[in-house]
């Protein structure tokens, strides 16, 4: 019965304007964001710019992190934290600022007066100019003066930064696991070549394209399934078919799961053919480089990366709409989506606990490997949340079916 119902639900979606609107938005978004350019090529020696990477050099990590901390401190702006994956500003009290200043003193072995004065002198000789294309030119009359003392080991540095992170609060940028994010450096030719080879041999080209595909498509899939879940529940209400369906033999689990799975299938249905476009690019790049392609990479990434997002967003909208029989799920879903997109830590290359993990880079296999464990935990977590929400939906549906709940309230049906 479940399979037959899923087929019928899918057939209903095939006649729905919501489904076609979704397909159009998906394709337009893909074409506007991903379609132009995006060919990976071997780096040429002597090029002016190979892009940026994050350094593994402990000294660079220590100095860069200290520099960012000092700049944050002297600017007197609130500190950025991401307590549950979302941005939150923290303003420190005077006592807390003194504690942070003391940590800086221990790191650079300079008194507060000394390093504050050194920063003032640096800023006097610092200027930034922008040309007509928005490119910036930085001019420094003296080098950055506050660096970690050579006698400080990386272990000591980590301990002190943990103290700083503890003062600022949970999810601070200065936490142990985020220190590397401060060490952005220009890539060398050797690094660029190594990264290119990683894409060819470890990623089999298609892996790199699949990641950026999931990064972009995940943005859409973090929001649009909300409309499907909401529309499906409201369709029963608007068409006045609830009682007819309730009175049929099919169990609540069969009804709810068939509708839920049909939405998930219909959401992923256009995603997989769309992935053939970047896959064709990957095949082109691989052939040009004379290496093999993992043809299943997109399917694997779609299941591992995108499916949990779809499962969660659909389950959330289904549960909330089944309970309230209104548009609340769309409003809340849009707010969660906004927060997930615009308030993410570390910009566009981080999983964290975000509903929509980002990896807005074509390549960078090494960096992706660093965040992979967190990404896997993130995806498992959202899948578990989705299953819990589905269970809650099932309970709500069963209670409504027995007349205990009506539109989220204890039944007040005073029918004749």
């Amino acid at each position: 019965m479940l399979i037959s119902l899923i087929k019928k639900e899918c057939s209903m979606w095939m006649k729905s304007i919501i489904f076609y609107a979704y397909v159009i938005i998906l394709v337009v978004f893909y074409v506007s964001q991903m379609e132009s350019g995006m060919l990976i090529s071997r780096p040429e020696p002597g090029a002016a710019d190979y892009g940026y990477t994050y350094s593994d050099d402990e000294r660079i990590i220590m100095d860069s992190t200290l520099k960012d901390l000092v700049i944050d401190f002297v600017s007197e702006r609130p500190f950025a934290t991401y307590p549950v994956g979302f941005y939150k500003e923290i303003t420190l009290s005077e006592e807390e600022r003194d504690e942070v200043a003391a940590c800086i003193e221990r790191l650079c072995k300079m008194s507060r007066e000394e390093w504050e004065k050194a920063v003032d002198e640096y800023e006097e000789g610092y200027s930034v100019e922008y040309d007509d294309f928005g490119r910036q030119t930085v001019e420094e009359k003296i080098p950055w003066p506050v660096v970690t003392d050579p006698e400080i080991t990386y272990g000591e540095f980590e301990e002190i930064m943990e103290e700083v992170a503890g003062i600022i609060g949970r999810g601070s940028d200065y936490g142990k696991e985020r220190l590397k994010g401060h060490a952005e450096v220009k890539m060398t030719y050797e690094q660029a070549l190594s990264e290119y080879e990683d894409v060819l041999y470890k990623d089999k080209v298609s892996g790199a394209y699949a990641r950026i595909f999931c990064d972009y498509i995940g943005i859409i899939l973090g929001l649009l399934p909300v409309f499907f879940g909401t529309a499906r529940v409201l369709k029963d209400k608007r068409s006045r078919v609830k009682e007819v369906v309730y009175a049929k033999r099919a169990g609540s689990a069969t009804v709810v799961c068939s509708r839920y799975l049909a939405i998930v299938i219909m959401i992923l249905l256009p995603v997989l053919p769309l992935s053939l476009l970047p896959l064709s690019k990957a095949v082109y790049v691989a052939r040009a480089a004379g290496v093999g392609v993992d043809y299943l990479a997109f399917l694997k990434y779609a299941i591992g990366w995108l499916l949990p997002t779809v499962l969660f967003v659909t389950a959330f909208s289904y549960a909330v709409t089944e309970l309230t029989e209104g548009f609340l799920a769309v409003l809340v879903g849009a707010a969660v989506w906004f927060a997930a997109i615009f308030l993410t830590p570390f910009g566009l290359k981080h999983a964290g606990w975000n509903l929509i993990p980002r990896f807005n880079s074509l390549g960078e296999y090494g960096l992706f490997s660093d965040i992979l464990d967190q990404l896997i935990i993130n995806r498992i977590l959202y899948t578990v949340f989705a299953l819990l929400l589905l269970g809650i939906t099932l309970m709500i549906y069963e209670l409504k079916r027995k007349g205990v709940l009506k539109n989220g309230k204890v039944s007040e049906n005073l029918g004749s």
Partner: protein, 295 residues
């Protein structure tokens, strides 16, 4: 196996309001009419039988199965709600196929049974007609077809003729009578004519209480000798309305032929006549106060 529905001391509350008050009755095979005003508790009772509501007190069994066993009850009942509808952009056949799947029917069973039922309800030429394009009568016929799709032992039909034109109503009643062979059909209505034309057994509900349970003949016998007709002037009519329950009127110029209930001959010129179900219904509803009559 039992082929009747039993209700014992059934009560249902909505907050402080008691929608059903200690309802006890047995519903045998055949057409059973549930009569009562709007708000009498008919729909509540029907929904309890269809497992869409839980009784707060009392016991209900359908053909020997406790109504708490909702899975089994749903597999042996068909339900046509008061305001039946389906997804507007579905065709007739598609709607039946969808609901047949929800009823647990295999594809083969659906393919065999749906055309037969659509023929039976005179929708065989409307397979592709969208639900949103159907008239009220066509929708009810589709409703009854979907309710008997799984060949249920019990068919629960809530106010099926409300809003239908006279021709559609007669056709629908005949259809229900055909279906009622060898199964229990419970017809809830506030239209006495529907019950009179189709049901052998009836129950009358008033404000959640059972006022009468028995056969139509028994109901008629109760009011035998208590229904009168008289020709009165318009002036006299007003006084008569105040003193008696008027069950019918026919205006003839300045005079009016009045049909009314009276325990004894009320005045000179009033003629005793045979009661119809409407007379008997009004007699029970107005004369018998709160007492339940189970015959």
């Amino acid at each position: 196996m039992e082929t009747e529905i039993r209700l014992e001391g059934v009560c249902k509350y909505y907050g402080r309001k008691q929608a059903l008050k200690d309802v006890t009755m047995t519903i045998p095979t055949g057409m059973f009419g549930l009569l009562g005003r709007n708000g009498a508790g008919k729909t509540t009772l029907m929904k309890i039988l269809a497992t869409l509501l839980k009784a707060d007190e009392g016991k209900v069994s359908v053909c020997g199965v406790d109504v708490k066993n909702s899975v089994k009850i749903r597999s042996m009942t068909g339900y046509l709600p008061q305001d039946f509808s389906m997804y507007g952009n579905m065709g007739v056949y598609e709607a039946m196929d969808y609901l047949g799947t929800l009823s647990g029917m295999s594809k083969k069973e659906r393919m065999e049974r749906i055309p037969v039922l659509l023929e039976k309800v005179n929708l065989s030429n409307n397979y592709r007609t969208k639900v949103k394009a159907m008239s009220g009568g066509m929708k009810r016929r589709l409703g009854i077809a979907q309710a008997i799709l799984n060949d249920p032992k019990v068919l629960i039909v809530d106010e099926p003729t409300a809003g239908l034109d006279p021709e559609e109503r007669v056709r629908f009643r005949n259809l229900l009578c055909e279906i009622a062979e060898e199964r229990i059909v419970i017809l809830s209505t506030h239209i006495v004519g529907d019950v009179e034309a189709t049901c052998e057994n009836i129950a009358i509900l008033d404000e959640g209480s059972l006022k009468f349970v028995g056969t139509v003949e028994e109901l008629l016998a109760m009011s035998a000798g208590k229904i009168y007709t008289a020709e009165v002037s318009r002036m006299e009519l007003e006084k008569l309305k105040k003193d008696y329950i008027v069950t019918g009127m026919l205006t003839k110029g300045s005079m009016v032929d009045v049909r009314f209930v009276s325990e004894e001959r009320p005045f000179e010129g009033a003629k005793n006549c045979d009661p119809n179900v409407e007379d008997a219904y009004l007699y029970v509803m107005n004369e018998k106060g709160g007492e339940t009559i189970c015959l």
